[in-house]
Amino acid sequence: MADEPARARLSFGNAALAGIVTTVGDRQVLFAEEGPSLGLEPGEISRLQRAIGLEARQIVSGEQTTVDLCEASARRLLAGLDIPASSVSGLILVTQTPDHSTPASAIALQDRLGLPITSMAFDVRLGCSGFVYGLAIACSLVEAGLERVLVAVGDVASRFVDPTDHVVAPIMGDAGAVALVERRPSRSWFELYSDGSGQRALYIPNSGVKRVAEDEGRPSVMTMDGAAVFNFTLQRVPDLINDILAWSGKPLEDIDYFVLHQPNKYILKNIQKRLKVPEERFPSATQSVFGNQNAASIPGTISGFLSIPYSEQKLVSVLAGFGIGLSWGAAVIETDRIYAPPPQFGLEQG
């Protein structure tokens, strides 16, 4: 019998999600208004609106960064939970758009939040799978002994696209979300996956030290092979969700919400129908309202559309992130009336 490949499966019983706060860019861009500047005809604009749900996105103003957005979310989260920064012993920042390529932006965020120097802080360089990965790492750290860990996920992707690229530019939104994981009984299950053979499906050429001949002269902006990403998603995500349900032992009927990364309405509808999950348990509007929030899209969807049920009810959720890498992962998590206010628009608290 052939050996089964090693699998990145994790489960936890003593790490609980206590709250989620999301800050989105303060500037709203309407697709119908920006379409002509991208060289799109009115017919093409309406076609894209209908096909993949492009309506609006929220992006940052001026020079605001990932750390700025995450700092705003973290401050609001800690205040809302009435938790002092001095009690947090870990900070993970998941981003593809750090403030500097080095040092890690998590350490700048640690300083700005006033987390003690006896805490650990580090970056994780992942995109749309990043919240699931960050949560898994945070749960691991909590079960290994830390009391409280912040998971910050964010990107200012609008600043890393060619503004004239009608494929990528109108998709991207900016957001920074922060979740708190703390030590108390709560069950969760995770499955994580990686496939570097698809690394060029979504990437920024000439953005590191490696030089590739075919990228010579190309600008350092996000490049997407839409067809490859589409195929990857439909090939991997339905199985990903069925596998995490099997691993957790939870039947599909027991899941209150399926909160997936939000690439576009069509892909999400396709997955929802394949899984035979009712629409009301499968949010899909985030892309249309806020844009693609990359690593922040899962907490961004909870903040944007599920604030009331997550604040008021005990829930079992499937979370699934998938994209650049290629990297994907899913979790089944239990939550019990977490702190989950609606998103904040911009850095100033209203």
Partner: protein
């Protein structure tokens, strides 16, 4: 029972009202949709086809699969393959 090919032709006609690809005005059994239009038009075609078939059959069947955008194996590379693919998805 719904005539799937007729429904797919209507979906193609609706999609092409906005795409305006002349090569798709008169589709033959060997017409190549995959190379004729861009990926957004293909998503549009999938949406139109799914919606029309759902209206006629009462069942939503997702038509996008991992081969749809596969440059070598997409059923959209030949009209007759596309019709067969959709019929198979609808259990015909």
């Amino acid at each position: 029972m719904a005539d799937i090919e007729a429904t797919l032709r209507e979906a193609l006609r609706r999609m092409n009202e906005e795409t305006r690809c002349e090569a798709l005005d008169a589709v033959t059994a060997d017409s190549n949709l995959f190379d004729a239009v861009d990926s957004m038009a293909i998503v549009d075609l999938l949406l139109e086809s799914e919606a029309l078939l759902e209206a006629e059959t009462g069942n939503y069947v997702a038509l996008a699969g991992e081969t749809i955008f596969d440059a070598e194996h997409s059923p959209l590379r030949r009209w007759r393959d596309w019709v067969a693919y959709v019929e198979q998805r609808h259990g015909r």
